[in-house]
Amino acid sequence: MRRFSLAFAGIVLVAAIAAPSALAQFAPVTPESPNAEGIRQSYLFVSIFVAGIFVLVEGLLIAFIWKYRRRRRPRFEDGAPIHGATKLELAWTAFPVVVLFLVAAFVFIELPGIKDIPEATAGEEQLEVRVSGRQFYWQYEYPNGVIAVDTMRAPAGVPVRLEVTAPDSDVIHSWWIPPLGGKIDAIPGTVNQTWFEADTPGTYHGQCAELCGLEHANMLASVEVLSQPEFAAWLEERRAEQTAGSGELGAETWEGVCAKCHGLAGEGGIGPRIAGSLVLADPEALESLVRNGRRTMPAVGAGWTSEQVEALANYLKESPPSGS
């Protein structure tokens, strides 16, 4: 009996020491945008109280287990009765109220920095990107009509406003790039807003956070933050390519949209093998298939511009999937 209470005390003690240090170390990922920073600050602030209460409660538990264990007392001897502890009861009712008040107050202080998109500074504009969650890819639309799939390019140091939605025929997804802030659901029939402003160029990864079907796990997203001149050049080049029906959009669409279910080489996955399929070589059949879907295949291309369909068809003409 004694051995067990000792072991119990030991384990809880180790947990009590390990947990607070773990909490400080394990916070949301390193933020790259002010809203993610605000969330991380709030998380750390809450952690102070969480660690304190954790140590208090587990500490008392261990102390009582140790101090009031039976030892040589008779098996059924009564413990000491406790009378009149009203003050104590009031204290432990008031204590959580105070803690929660502080937590809520801190959240209110941080909130504007998390939810409000910063005013555009002189000489710069906000960039607005429409993000559409679809089974099982992310489609981005820039103000000049440029389309991108799964990888978003964004300029450093510019507030980027995201309008997050999903087509009426699709299901709910959730936009989440942890270093760039919290998540927001992409809901058919609704347009939600979020934003980020990354100062450091680099690629930031995330993925869909709402179960959206078989390939939910592979519905990855990334944001490639470029310097402002690089971004401007990319956007212009992409615009020109798209008009010409050439360039990267076709490959992006193949990889992001078709390959998730049919494999990168068209070898088949949760969807059938499509390498060598005549549909891929026939732009009209391809267009009707992606726009309308067929049996279990969703209408992945519903609402696509003709530019995007053309880019895909051209890509498939130039580099038809090998099948292995």
């Binding site: 991380r40 009564d78 413990g79 000491a80 909130l111 942890p178 919290g182 809901i187 939910h216 949760i270």
Partner: protein, 552 residues
Amino acid sequence: MAVSRAESVPAWQRGKVASWLVTTDHKRIGILYISTALVFFVLAGLMALVFRLQLSQANADVLSADRYNELITIHGTAMVFLVVVPLLAGFANYLVPLMIGAHDVAFPRLNALSYWLFFLGGAILMGSFFADGGAADTGWTAYPPLSTQATGNGQDLWILSLHVLTASSLAGAINFIVTIHNMRARGMTWMRMPLFVWSILLFAWLLMAILPTLSAGLTLLLLDRGVSIGPWDVQTNFFNPAEGGSPVLYQHAFWFFGHPEVYVIVLPAFGIISEVLPVFSRKPVFGYKAIAASTVAIGFFSMLVWAHHLFTVGLPISLQVFFMLASMIIAVPTGMKIFNWLATLWRGNLHFETPMLYALGFLSIFVIGGLTGIYLAAFPIDWQLHDSYFVVAHFHYTIFGGAMFAIFAGLFYWWPKMFGRLLDERLGKWQFWTLFVGFNLAFMPQHFAGLEGMPRRVYTYSNESWEGYNLASTIGSYVMGVAILLFVVNIWRARSGPRVGNDPWQADTLEWYTTSPPPPHNFDDVPYVTSARPLYDLRRKLRIERGGREPA
């Protein structure tokens, strides 16, 4: 009385199996509930062991996406609807009449119906694996449009199963409410009622309040999926945005039920802890009134917090603020309970038999689940943590670490009352430590995986920095499996365990006044109840009558 009842039973109902099939005895129904739920527990646990294997490393190839989604959906649904709630309903069935000194529940036949509906609902859910297209694979929350678009019959059977289980729970809830309100022993005022009975009263009232909303949501879901009634094909668009419906409406309906459901689960667990801790501390529970009042408060506030599950759907900030504050308010009565339990240990004469180990294990683990809830209630933090593995860890800390640990405390504590024999203490302790270590190994790392960006419900991942957490988690889940195996062995061996008398733990409440196991009619006589600890009073009276000194 017992004799006349036995004579009135037709011969075909007296057989060993038949007598269980037709029983209306609350004790037998309680045992049926508990044993059926334990079978489902093993099944749903095995599902977890399979999908944990798939997650043990990056890009694993154990399960297809399809199978994986089916397993997590049925695992979650079963653990809530077929395991934890029915286990607690089983305890309630067995114990409430005994604890309040009644001969049975108010409506014994309704009670039997409620068990058999539970059995049917469970069979439908488990059987749905064999349906055309497999079982439902849209998560235990079944959000539309995903669930309305799901092909095959799995989703329909899932809805049917939940409808049947809802009917079962409603029947049970009505029974408990009428029983507790009307059938308490002489002298048992509200403030002398065992705390477990208080928790079951709130459990039942909450179920009455929230289940209709779930039923409504499920019915709309079914209609949206399309049904044929005779010659008419009905297909509605409540959740279909293309026709002006709102998918988020379903989420409100689901969570108006779903969040209080957490307290439907946790309140009776609290009740069990409030019975076990005092007996193994040899003290009255500290702050009886405060615990009873906080039970009522938690029940009430639990109905005002549902939208904290919807912080990422784009609700207006003012609503998010409301639901954050409401969620935080619940922490106050919950904190009161924890401090009351700690104060129950204070200056006690503690001994550490298995029920007590589980109760203490519950305390140490549940605190963690409560504390991580603060992060999730603060909505901007939730924007980061929602639908990540952090949430998975959080609710396993409350539902497994909380409710299941309390249920094991209850099983070891009341087993001698139910069967007249003790479960083996040595095996019990081994099981406790294995489960305690396995549980923390399985679920603590999931917090960190979530913080690093791992979303829930993914059948695979390619980020190798999540691998360590997931491997630890998988190992932990198998350690938990070993613990459950030890429990099965323990049950098996307990058939020939040591016999015990009426009251092996020298407890305080009325169920220990009668024999172990109790006769069909429970009590030959019920003492007049003079406090919340009727048996303690009786023992004291006896001691004084025998000329012993009254203890100080």
